[in-house]
Symmetry: D3
Subunit: 238 residues, 6 copies
């Protein structure tokens, strides 16, 4: 099965990570995975959530939103409905867990970093773009803020969506592919190749262990490539 843009099954769409996009944020990144554009902005707050007070540790959390007309047909504005959807909450919890997994919360001290991920345009894979771009925003915000200049992040973290479409395992699904997928997965991994989070779901058909293994393989290669792009965007040695 040929992909509509001619990509190989394991290939990412053209990915552009533009650090410093948001003028006012402590760190930011516009993450573009093809036609999916997610603006990630980091805010440093000199306080922690109430339940964490006095423990000497920091916190990283994320919020996620979509512009109403980022989607093919308009999506209701959550602020107008007065409630974030279950999907939104699931996604922002995923992003937060992923970024915390590589952050040294003890060294961060009693500060909270809040990462806002807003989808300006959607074409599949927004949560993977949010995690990948959110890491860049977080890294930029924390640069030079560790005690004695020590790094506050232990490793990179990035994510990719994969899925089984027409029996074939594909990486970085666009919206059309995602809609046609029998199963899809969001896989979050570190620069060192460890797993941080795996969320796989049967959409149209249950899937075999073998198919799932193939998705994990594809993800590993994609995340390695994304980590390279993060380093370039941040001006780090690769």
């Amino acid at each position: 099965m040929a992909r509509s843009d001619g990509r190989a099954p394991g290939a990412l769409r053209p990915v552009v990570l533009e650090a410093g996009f948001a003028r006012h944020a402590e760190g930011s990144c516009m993450a573009r995975f093809g036609d999916t554009h997610v603006l990630c902005a980091a805010t440093i707050e000199e306080r922690v959530p109430p339940w964490l007070k006095g423990r000497g540790r920091g916190w990283v959390t994320a919020e996620y939103g979509m512009l109403p007309r980022s989607t093919h047909t308009r999506t209701d504005r959550e602020a107008a409905r007065g409630r974030q959807s279950g999907r939104t909450q699931e996604i922002q919890r995923l992003i937060g867990r992923g970024l915390r997994a590589v952050t040294d919360l003890e060294a961060l001290g009693e500060r909270q970093i809040r990462i806002d991920c807003d989808v300006i345009q959607a074409d599949g894979g927004t949560r993977a773009a949010a995690i990948t771009g959110g890491f860049v925003a977080l890294h930029a915000a924390l640069a030079g803020r560790g005690p004695g200049g020590a790094p506050l992040l232990r490793d990179h973290v990035a994510a990719v969506s994969c899925g089984v479409v027409g029996g074939v395992a594909l990486a970085d699904l666009d919206y059309g592919e995602d809609s046609a997928a029998d199963a899809d997965a969001n896989i979050v991994m570190t620069g060192a190749g460890a797993l941080v989070e795996v969320q796989a779901a049967a959409e149209g058909a249950v899937f075999s262990r073998a198919a799932f293994d193939r998705l994990l393989d594809l993800a590993g290669a994609c995340v390695a490539e994304l980590v390279g792009l993060q380093k370039a965007a941040l001006g780090l040695d690769r």
Copy 2:
């Protein structure tokens, strides 16, 4: 590392599935995984959600709740706070997807089955118990309702939580083990052994592909055992 109740790493807690527990429901099951007790009740509604009207297909959805004092320390009542938490929404979406994966929604016709999963007592693994018991409630509710008596469910579905605790892969974590886990996973599978849903997350430490593979192995064995218990509870030939 010995488990507090002496179980083998891959062993389930004592599991009891009591079908027909709720007097008024069309189908029900009290699912007990050790000290975790979840009451699952199925309601058949002769209508579908608005977005599905007129398409000739049915729907299965789930709601999840915890009694405030099902937990060690009291959990605020969500009805009093006026909002279901992100965790609750995530869990009920997971249960719904899992049960839909084995339901023939076309044959069901324009009906919605709603599965209420209420945690009476919690000791880890409530979402796995909810899916496993929810299937029994769903099966009981749908018995004999297919067109021409044809079955409306294509297969069984059951779930188990697994995790890495102190470097060891364990199945069916209790609350104490779950709190100490470096990584945990909820794995939903069919009677035929296919994957329906995998949700794995690093809690304290990222995890290797090899550790993850081990969790998937444990889950496969446990789900096979749970499917056997479902059949017994429903009075089906094994």
Copy 3:
């Protein structure tokens, strides 16, 4: 008019009060009035509501909920609707007032006892069962906590619903009787036979003072019996 289960007009259904039902609560009771089953759980909090701070007194409050499928037809989950109904609020205020009426709030000190009453199965009279079982949970939670071992509860409190059905005064209405009642009343009394709360309402027809007096008579006898059952459940001398 014969009652469907052959009871005498003034007779209670079989009542079972099972103390200690909830593993994690400081005190608990599963109260079964026939097919009405209410799980009552007490939580001790070492703080009082904001408006009571610094006054050296404690508080007892109650929350009430119904499992969605505790009822003949499913009742929407209040957490999902984002709002407790007027009926729910009325009931939990009633339970709280009833339990506070026998509690020595000064001796309790700056602590709040929260009684969660959750209807597992409903067949009429849930609020009476909640008060009667809630007292057992409260008593169990407070045992031995008074200053110098002094009791924190001044008396027992229990409740029963009564009503006029087909012109006859009946005690402890089940759901079918309640639906057919012209008038019904919930009457809360102490072990010493004093009144704590009376709520009577014309449902289908207004009622005479004489009929109302008869309901109060029936309630007095039932509450005396319920207090005896509370003592037995708590292992107290009768």
Copy 4:
């Protein structure tokens, strides 16, 4: 114990029922019980609530509110808090039940009458004033609307609050008396002297059956007087 305004224990405060107060409503009444002033306004809607559609019957419902500064110290505006309190809901349910008890809902047909009761100034007994004035508003709104000119109301309904203060049974408590009461009751009765609703609660001390009987006696006399005032306000023969 002398009452601050010199009233006899069973005497009402000066009561003024001013029909037609609200220019735009189909029926209205400003009910003044001493310094308690409640504006009651009836609206006729040519439709019934969804759950009553197609049954050929009507409905009467009530809403209740207090102006924020109707009270000695300011009460938060419920519209600003985004939620009606339990007390408000309890009161509006009570008013609605009381008015429905004397309305011929079959003859009313598929129409809903909504009675808004807004407290302009509060000095105790607002719910009794609301029921008593609400009846006048309802009567005025329904005049001449029955089929063939037949009356839609079967009888009058009025209410009074009573309580035990310092061991003495008193009728129509003002705010100061209400705050000092050991027990208080709201009693709703018809013109014929039948009971519609009784709500009695121990505030500071439980109460005896004898004391409760005395409150019911006082209420009977007061309601008879209030019904006379309703007739005068409506220009009916007494």
Copy 5:
């Protein structure tokens, strides 16, 4: 075009400002502009909003509401809908800004004055009546409370609505005129004739600068007259 009540284009309706209307408030005024009646009540709170704490300054804020049946057809109760409308919020922000513009917030110290403006009956121009009456309530509440007896208000503030109806500029529109207006404006001015707030909107047709200038002229004359009435209501020298 003749006005229905024969007023000249620039004339106010009969305006009555009745100070001291609300028994419990620190200051109050029933403001009647023809058939529009707004009850304004001031509450002094010995604290400021959180964002103003510790700055040594006070605050004046307003809340606005309409009784459901103040209007020709019933308006839903905002407390029942659980949300204040955009219109309500816009109006209460307008009232608050208008009153703050003449208050010496530094001299007021860390106190908040809350002005509740509740529409008892509506016939156009409720926000102008609320500002004009709200000033009287505020003035009465603050009398003698300035440091060393110094005045806390720098000037009067009052408001009027004006509009273009059938091509003619009219002052103080009633409901019928307002509904027919091509453009309308609410203009808030001080006793010295300075502008505080101008809100003008095309309703049916855009409007010329010349027409707008004419509205401002009318407003100036009306506000001067309203300020005279405020002084009379407060017993101040004119």
Copy 6:
């Protein structure tokens, strides 16, 4: 007083209107007024709000939001707070009224156009940018959709903010100027120079009629320039 960027008092910041920015919308425009960037997207819905059904007319409405980190310090996400602020509602009502003033709602027929205005970056004047860019989005969405190809828009509409800063009237305030303004105004006008909406408020000091007249003069010139830019962005003859 020199402006920080050297602009003349009546000069706009560099304004760029980029039509077609949003890939999925029926019409869109990124409106940049200096560092203020607002993305405006039009959605055509083939239905009208319930209150307008069956009247043969259409509707134009707007929604407004700010990305949390569009501002210097982070603004809470309204979807997370579950409520749009009064400011947000005021702004979206203003945008909607402004755009409706130039739309032929009869010719539009029973369709609703929804204009989403999302602030990507804020530096003062966001509502003026939203109206100016919203018109471009609306025009693009409606092109060729009138009956018989007739235009659905009667004129252009655009807006600018003006204010008095340090005694000088300035056009198109940036955030720093806005914060220092004694008075500010948002003025919405048509291509023909008629007024659509004027909202002026004293911030630090009340303002004279003469100062206000000067603001209106400045606005007229700016809006004329903005209309020219709209025409260029839409490829219309000027």
